[in-house]
Assembly symmetry: C2
Homo-oligomer: 357 residues x 2
Amino acid sequence: MPIHTLQSDNYTIEAGNIEESSFSQLLNRFSDSKKVIIVDENTHEYCLEFLITQFEELTDAEVMLLPAGEENKVLEVSFQVWEALSEYRVGRSDLIINLGGGVITDMGGFIASVFKRGVHFINIPTTLLAMVDASVGGKTGIDLGPYKNQLGVFNTPDAVYIDKRFLSSLPESEWLNGYAEMLKHAIVFSKTHWKTIHAKTPSQITEEDIIESIAIKNQIVLADPKENGIRKLLNFGHTAGHAIEGYLLGTESPVPHGIAVAWGMSMEAELAFKTGVLNEVDRAWIQSVLASHFPPLPDFTPVKQELLSLMTNDKKNKSGKVSFVFPSEIGQADVNYSFDVDAPVLESLFFKSSDLY
Amino acid sequence: MPIHTLQSDNYTIEAGNIEESSFSQLLNRFSDSKKVIIVDENTHEYCLEFLITQFEELTDAEVMLLPAGEENKVLEVSFQVWEALSEYRVGRSDLIINLGGGVITDMGGFIASVFKRGVHFINIPTTLLAMVDASVGGKTGIDLGPYKNQLGVFNTPDAVYIDKRFLSSLPESEWLNGYAEMLKHAIVFSKTHWKTIHAKTPSQITEEDIIESIAIKNQIVLADPKENGIRKLLNFGHTAGHAIEGYLLGTESPVPHGIAVAWGMSMEAELAFKTGVLNEVDRAWIQSVLASHFPPLPDFTPVKQELLSLMTNDKKNKSGKVSFVFPSEIGQADVNYSFDVDAPVLESLFFKSSDLY
């Protein structure tokens, strides 16, 4: 299929075979500049050669190999890249190419945005999660201890290229990561998208589905780039999800972002139902679809206090409050449902899957 | 004198007694928010009590004490503040107050801009340098090894308050730091300002002089916030000056920013003269005024290669080139004089004071 172009803030997202996209022209504009490709161990093995083979302008690009995994989306790794960029004399007119999943696009975007107060960067996401979520919306960031994306800036890349062929080497768990965010886009904004994707296995997801999910996120982000209002919709499942992900990151059994968000959506759907916002049918539909794709929700009651405490530190919250996005039905949601951290109703977040099904 | 207000990008700079400024109203707007005051050892001793005495809303502000000095404008210190802000549960609706010299306003601005993708901050500069330079223009940043302001973002504070009474405890060397930047503003933009200030001792500098110098910088910055063109004027003396400052930072005898810039202006005036841009009379006037206020220019010939190498890494440069701002006469300058790093004419940067006077 031909290149599909979405116009975002001040850049374009192009989906399709990357060699048919505008990437060649962009590289021509940077023909006199240094090119740096940031990869992790996975994209170094599975994606880099393909990219360089397609674009000979990248033959002498400097490749910076970072350790894979969310636990490496940290200041120490960023520091090493900044030192390497300094040593390589990268300047404001040079180009950083982030080739990887959300860790690489989030951290690479942050590294580029902060280095010399901003050098050019583009994102080539290579996971479903990075394609439908991290690569659009102008958020960059790294984690600080248990706090996800605690350090970062709003800054947009020069361009984003979505080539589904990069997904061919992904394990199923990685597909699920992105699928959770696609379901989220559907729940907060589009019942049509929900109907199209909710019963698919990850490998049945098409390029059209990916483009539709990006288009939803793009539409929301364009309406509210700095997250003062409607953009908060995208935080559905993330108040609880980020707390779970951050908490488990410090334990023996960390979980991928998508699983944490799927659990978070299930928990927050329960709270939305208990507070009378979400109707019973759609609450059941959301929870059963999530349960059919994702691992069962563990019993978080023993660490309730730790999770609630992490939730109060969420970027979305005013002091001492916990805020949520609640769907009223599938395809429709509202922001700014705010509770005191010790409000009894928050107990309803901590149910077990076995209570329901 | 009454409060003097300068309108910058999307904030105001107010000069005068701070208790008569809009600071009270601003604190009222943040009455439900956490307030964090970032100080260094000096402002902790000399400025903090005065500020808190004037504004009872600050009585329970959290005070974060950082080690003083340019060598502490680094990632490690920023990291500690970010951890403390996380622990103190600071959120996007809270307020950081940077009370200090350029190190505190640059680093505090960076810390605030990057924390949770940006929390509110204001600057209360307490040195002449911070008043006339660091507090206006939306540049935040920290150093990385020998590279000055290598990490940072463009971001504006909510407000800047200039109260000359904070300068009363400054040692003379600190006055010179700011005076160098005031002379720079005069050389690149205003012969009137030059005539007013060039023969003053630092303690003769008036509030009107400070306001005039800020107004010049503000005018330049407003015309080109992201430094694509005319704003580069403000880099006069800084191509050589930053290299000297960065180089000496790693030795036993670091120099303050203002002295490095004064030396840099002298060196770059020489190069501007040798390339036929600056007239002989004004070159002599610039160099003799600088020599009358600042320590004599050392002989940097033995470390020429190190300094030139640092200059090529300056943020202003394209790969392998060194760029300068050249005055053609006092009050008039142009940007983008660019040379290959091995161009013979660059030798003329490395003259000794004794060659001239």
